[in-house]
Symmetry: C2
Subunit: 181 residues, 2 copies
């Protein structure tokens, strides 16, 4: 779908980072005028909703520098170039939680913030978790703590804004709609 398409007149690369790239495009609007678009390019990401055998949600607490605070999120990570999202999902689940799974169900996908970024987030769920035989050495410079919450506890964390990001708020609402108890 390209209704109201904005044709690129020129594109200027501003920043090439490890995670994000920033470019500013001059575009032609449908009325012929020109405008600037600030665009963040991102490789895409996955989030996994891991449910234990006793119906707890496995979350990870980590410090998020853009927010200058730590929040609790579903396990998540960026896609490597060309990587299948399911592969990313399994890797991040293992690295961040010490669980693995052979059964992953696709829930949905969405753009995090389509006004300025092309990050596409894939969400998966599994209630078939198996502890890994030995602890996986994740990224040694990644500091996270695992928390397992009931759905009721997770809802309280949403109220308290300790759970406070799109993918995790979506996950909690999804589990509520599913009737997890």
């Amino acid at each position: 779908m390209n209704k109201f398409e904005e044709k690129t007149i020129r594109s200027k690369q501003i920043f090439t980072g490890n995670i994000v790239h920033l470019q500013v495009d001059d575009v032609k609007l449908p009325n012929g005028k020109e405008a600037k678009r600030e665009i963040i390019k991102h490789p895409g990401a996955v989030g996994i909703i891991p449910i234990t055998k006793d119906n707890k949600i496995v979350l990870v607490e980590q410090f998020r520098k853009p927010l200058e605070k730590s929040i609790l999120e579903i396990p998540a990570g960026k896609l490597e170039p060309g990587e299948d999202p399911e592969t990313t999902a399994i890797r991040e689940l293992e690295e961040e939680t010490g669980y693995t799974t052979e059964e992953l169900s696709f829930v949905t996908s969405f753009y995090s913030s389509p006004g300025f970024a092309n990050e596409l987030m894939y969400i998966y769920i599994t209630d078939q978790l198996e502890p890994l035989d030995e602890s996986v050495d994740g990224d040694e410079d990644e500091f996270i703590e695992i928390v397992e919450l009931s759905l009721e506890e997770a809802k309280q964390y949403v109220e308290a804004e300790r759970i406070h990001d799109a993918k995790t708020n979506y996950a909690i609402l999804y589990l509520h709609a599913l009737g997890l108890s």
Copy 2:
């Protein structure tokens, strides 16, 4: 909460745009090592879930340059500096849909993508829509089309990825959980 806090050693401003700012921070990790954080600063935004008297969801279709396609989203917009999110919500509802309301309920808020951006999204809902007496002149360089969908239609649009962003996918799931029919 500041578990695993990453102290800023230095912060370098890379880009100051109309919508986003980009900075790269050197931080000290809990293990004493240093790392770089690429951070997008954003003023924050609101999304409004407008429900008509016959239980249709009012969505706007617009071209999103970062995605190079148009998608259907709940009405939304950026906060002006110091602006109360409810004020933003009413303004964007009026500008984008031609409806206004005196009853707005807070649904939730979430960070769109806390790994690299500080954008906080506030979500409101209203089923008390009143058509504006005269059409509001929105941003003349904003090209949008209003679409009103039943919840069932909206779910099909999610399946087809014509609805495909965090706030709108959240909104459709929220209405499903609410039992809108």
